[in-house]
């Protein structure tokens, strides 16, 4: 739809193209006074609008975070994976430029000939696929990862076991609770857990991270304490539901942070998918244009490239904002 900047302004069937070409100048050559061909101006305008879209979301992020009662600690996202993905996207931007340069230098080639248009397009699409693959792994991790907020008053009951497990425990002052994160053992069904009145969690180990800003939680050291049963590393700890403020996996529903995380990265991923579709078209069927009018193809690649760089740029903002700050 809106994410295929270069396919919609040009025709698919040749007949139509030519008719348009008569009516509409500056499809290939730039207009002297604006210095732009139509598609380029179009994509710049489209990107201006995209800036406002993501700008709205980034502003919302700031607004929500400033007003939030609490915000999760930063290691909740996988920073190495995020960093890897950033690098992948930057690479794809580079190969995108190379693809454009290859058409400009009239080196069409094939998917397997290094240094040619189709080769670089294939690399770009490959990078995008890797990005999406990593992203879906990250998403998947969130769905099976749980956070349990234990009431401060009842915390003493579990301190011993948590210490044994070397569990990372975060303190939240506004809601009077300690959070432990980890994977549930046994049932994850909310109804069943409410009925059986307890859940079992294998806690994540301590990371020694630090909180950030405002009322950010800080990691607390769990004192060894009499009471709770001892447990080895990886052994589930049983927690009664009546001692829990709230619990849930890392999905949008249970946390405003994950809500904005999924919304922004999801929208970004949709842009990646849209870009991939266009790139694939340009690398295959759309590439036939090369024989007829290579300059026109170069324009389409350039326009798509601009979009691609923008998507890359959005990620370069998303990564620090969501993962690091």
């Amino acid at each position: 739809m809106a994410h295929s900047p270069s396919s919609h302004d040009h025709a698919h069937d040749a007949g139509h193209d030519h008719e348009q070409h008569e009516l509409i100048p500056y499809i290939v050559k730039p207009r002297p006074d604006s210095g732009l061909y139509n598609g380029k101006l179009g994509i710049w305008l489209f990107l201006a609008s995209e800036v406002m879209l993501f700008g709205g979301l980034f502003s919302s992020y700031i607004f929500l975070r400033l007003g939030a009662e609490h915000w999760p600690y930063q290691e909740i996202l996988d920073i190495p994976l995020g960093l890897f993905n950033t690098a992948v996207l930057i690479c794809s931007s580079i190969t995108m430029v190379m693809a454009w340069a290859a058409v400009k230098r009239r080196r069409f080639g094939s998917f397997l000939t290094p240094g040619t248009y189709q080769f670089y397009m294939a690399l770009t699409i490959g990078c995008a696929a890797i990005f999406l693959g990593v992203k879906s792994k990250e998403y998947n991790d969130k769905f099976v990862h749980y956070g349990v907020f234990i009431k401060k008053a009842a915390f003493a009951k579990y301190e011993g076991a948590l210490h044994e497990a070397n569990a990372g425990t975060k303190e939240y002052t506004t809601i009077e609770a300690y959070e432990i994160t980890g994977h549930l053992h046994g049932t994850v069904d909310r109804k069943k857990i409410t009925e059986q009145k307890f859940l079992e969690i294998i806690p994540d180990a301590k990371k020694g991270g630090h909180g950030h800003g405002g009322d950010a939680p800080k990691e607390v050291t769990v004192k060894p304490h009499g009471g709770g049963g001892s447990s080895d590393h990886g052994t589930p700890i049983k927690i009664d539901t009546e001692d829990i403020v709230r619990w849930g996996n890392f999905i949008p529903k249970y946390s405003t942070f994950f809500a904005i995380y999924f919304t922004m990265t999801g929208l970004h991923a949709l842009h990646i998918i849209g870009g991939m579709l266009v790139l694939t078209y340009l690398a295959t069927f759309g590439a036939n244009l090369y024989k007829e009018n290579p300059e026109w193809l170069a324009n389409r690649v350039e326009v798509t490239g601009l979009f691609w760089h923008f998507v890359d740029l959005v990620w370069i903002f998303l990564f620090p904002v969501l993962y690091l700050l």
């Binding site: 040009h10 030519h18 008569e22 002297p32 919302s60 007003g67 249970y254």
Partner: protein
């Protein structure tokens, strides 16, 4: 003349550009296949449904948006009935009864008012008989189900649905597509001498997104529920599902919009999507995408496809207005899209972007506590960041069209055209920094309020400037009162009333009293209904001959004009009185529950409602005229109004590709009554000198 335009002489005209030296090299192949492809005739679907011709798309937009305008009007008529006669069944017979007895009642009322003014005993209570009982099998009940209109009596929640949909349809599905998309698509390429829009296929996609978004929105009225709130009105929201369309106002403020229209099964994404409010949001996303495509297209067209000689300052004012409007749509809509996505997440994925912690509904906590907390105010900021530019999106195309009509029918150049262009840009820019004047009562502090009051007051200055320029244009004119001109002249004072009543609203202190009263309703309807609609009527009468080759009947035009203007004022003027008495908006009973405070002004409800029904009747001559003239109207030449702009230099209707000859522009858009010129109009395309050079400094 700026040098940019000089260089554009290199390409003679869009229609022949493929053979000009500049593009020949790479466009040559196009020439080669030319004969084989260019002249094949598109079939019915290609010609009328999936057309990429900007004129056809403009007409598609025109018809669709007029139909939506009519739907929006029907909705508000049902609402008006409920306001004036709450609890009474809405039937054709009852409406007929009320309308026919209205004149005698009105005379009686005036008598009582006069008596009261002079201190004599008066009687403000209506002498109604027993209110009519609900009736079986009314049309309204049949159309809108027993749940919404049992026995023809409107239920409050159905009133809210109609209210939200009236606002949404009028703003996003009627006026924006009418002013921006319909007139813009039809006239902009013609006025700048382009062969088509820059991206014809995008243009088609834009129309179809709009159409389907709009139909989706209408369809939401019939979303089933499970019986809804019981007649007791206390069935908790968690169980009762009403179905039906969105009912949280066109502004859709959360938390109400997230809590209302609950899904049948909150755990199912599909079920969450199949609710009125969710559909509203999805449809809005479609509409936003549509206007995004449209605005990219307009800007690119205006920048890239101006004919040789069409320098920036020679562009008609209408094109300028469209350009600014396109920028407003391009930049203001995306934040609403973001807000829409987040609200959709709140409704479907049960996030709490806009839901603060600790909500309690019917004494039962309803949000997942400790989700981190969302903010209802965030939504309002995002909404009004769109919302205010949006109101200028409504008005600017109309201002542009009215300017065209005034210049043409006063037979003289627009006074201070450059000032107007600057004014419209300033207006566009400022409209991005006034949004919070809709939010004065949300706990705004002193400094923020001071900022927004100041910007709001400043924004009224370019408006006054533009309107004053229109007014002064009339000085020294030779005014032809054609039908379009009648509507255009009516626009000026009507917009003036709406704009001037915006001034007390711009200050936060009076808003303490006036906020969300009918004073606000009066304010904005004067700009959008008597203002924009009259301007749009003018534009339709003006460009109709170009689109069809025939003129609309003048006689019917007059029959349309006078009652419409009179009744528009009858409908909206009393709203100021009601608002000043403290009557608040969005009440299905028109404030009957606090009638002790409102006193005599409740009576005006009936006056307004009857006027609104009569206003519908007053549109019949127009609708008839519109369709009749397509086939039987008086045939006209290329340039029936003796106008100067480029669109009048091509056959009516223009052929595919718009022009039959290369277009070269020689002068500004409004060279009327040029001294020494044989006729009183000097078309932009007529070879010859540019009066701006000749009369430099004297203008």
């Amino acid at each position: 003349m700026d040098d940019a335009s000089e260089s554009s002489h290199a390409e003679i005209t869009p229609a022949t550009s493929h053979s000009t030296p500049g593009t020949a090299k790479h466009a040559d192949h196009a020439h080669g296949h030319h004969d084989a492809h260019a002249h094949h005739e598109p079939g019915f679907w290609g010609k009328y449904v999936f057309s990429t011709d900007h004129k056809t798309i403009g007409l598609q937009y025109l018809i669709t948006s007029l139909l939506f305008l009519l739907f929006g009007f029907f909705m508000v008529l049902m609402m008006r009935w409920s306001i004036a006669y709450p609890g009474q069944p809405l039937t054709v017979a009852n409406v007929f009864h009320k309308v026919t007895e209205a004149p005698s009642k009105f005379v009686h009322r005036i008598g009582e008012n006069v008596k009261a003014t002079f201190g004599y005993a008066h009687d403000f209570k209506e002498k109604e008989g027993a209110p009519p009982k609900p009736e079986e099998g009314t049309l309204a009940e049949f159309l809108f189900s027993k749940k919404n209109m049992p026995g023809g009596v409107m239920q409050p929640s159905f009133y809210n649905q109609l209210g939200a949909m009236h606002g949404t349809i009028m703003v996003f599905l009627a006026i924006v597509p009418l002013g921006f998309a319909a007139f813009g698509n039809f006239a902009v390429p013609l006025q700048i001498g382009a062969g088509d829009m820059c991206f014809p296929r995008l243009n088609m996609a834009s129309y179809h997104l709009f159409l389907w978004g709009g139909l989706l929105m209408l369809f939401s009225f019939w979303i089933p529920g499970n019986g809804g709130f019981g007649p007791d009105g206390v069935t908790p929201a968690a169980i009762a599902v009403e179905g039906g369309a969105a009912q949280s106002g066109w502004t859709s403020y959360p938390p109400l919009s997230v809590l209302s229209n609950p899904p049948l099964n909150p755990d199912s994404i599909l079920s969450c999507l199949m609710t009125g409010q969710s559909i509203w949001l999805v449809a809005m996303v479609l509409l936003i995408t549509s206007s995004l495509l449209g605005s990219v297209n307009f800007i690119a067209t205006i920048v890239q496809l101006r004919a040789p000689g069409m320098t920036w300052m020679r562009m008609p004012f209408f094109v300028w207005a469209q350009l600014v409007t396109a920028f407003l749509l391009l930049l203001a809509f995306p934040p609403l899209e973001a807000a829409g996505i987040m609200q959709l997440m709140d409704r479907v994925a049960h996030t709490s972007f806009f839901m603060p912690d600790g909500l309690v509904w019917e004494n039962v906590p309803i949000t997942a506590t400790y989700s981190g907390g969302g903010s209802p105010l965030l939504y309002q900021h995002l909404f009004w960041f769109l919302g205010h530019p949006e109101v200028y999106v409504l008005i600017l195309p109309t201002i542009g069209a009215v300017t065209e009509i005034i210049a043409c029918n006063s037979r003289k150049p627009i006074w201070g055209q450059n000032t107007m262009v600057v004014g419209v840009w300033v207006l566009g820019f400022l409209s991005f920094i006034v949004w919070a004047h809709h939010m004065y009562l949300t706990g705004m502090g002193t400094k923020v309020a001071a900022f927004f009051q100041t910007t709001t007051i400043i924004i009224s200055i370019p408006s006054v400037l533009i309107l004053t320029a229109m007014l002064i244009t009339l000085w020294g004119a030779s005014i032809r009162f054609t039908v379009p001109m009648l509507f255009a002249t009516a626009f000026i004072p009507l917009f003036g009333i709406g704009g001037l009543t915006g001034i007390p609203l711009a200050f936060s202190a009076p808003v303490l009293y006036l906020h969300d009263t009918y004073y606000v309703i009066g304010h904005f309807h004067y700009v959008v209904a008597p203002g924009v609609i009259t301007g749009a009527f003018g534009a339709i009468y003006h460009w109709y001959p170009k689109a069809t080759g025939r003129k609309m009947s003048d006689f019917l035009g007059h029959v349309h004009f006078w009652p419409t203007i009179l009744l528009m004022n009858c409908v909206f003027m009393p709203m100021f009185l009601q608002g000043m008495s403290g009557m608040h908006r969005r009440g299905f009973d028109g404030g009957a529950s606090y009638s002790d405070l409102l006193g005599g002004i409740l009576y005006w409800h009936q006056f307004i409602t009857v006027s609104a029904f009569l206003l519908l009747l007053a549109q019949i001559p127009f609708i008839f005229n519109f369709f009749y003239s397509i086939w039987f109207g008086e045939k006209v030449s290329t340039n029936p109004w003796h106008a100067t702009t480029v669109e009048w230099d091509t056959p009516s209707p223009p052929p595919h590709g718009n022009f039959t000859k290369p277009i070269q522009v020689y002068r500004g858009a409004y060279e009327y009554s040029v001294p020494g010129h044989p006729t009183d109009y000097f078309p932009q395309t007529e070879p010859g000198y540019d009066p701006a050079d000749k009369f430099k400094g004297k203008h």
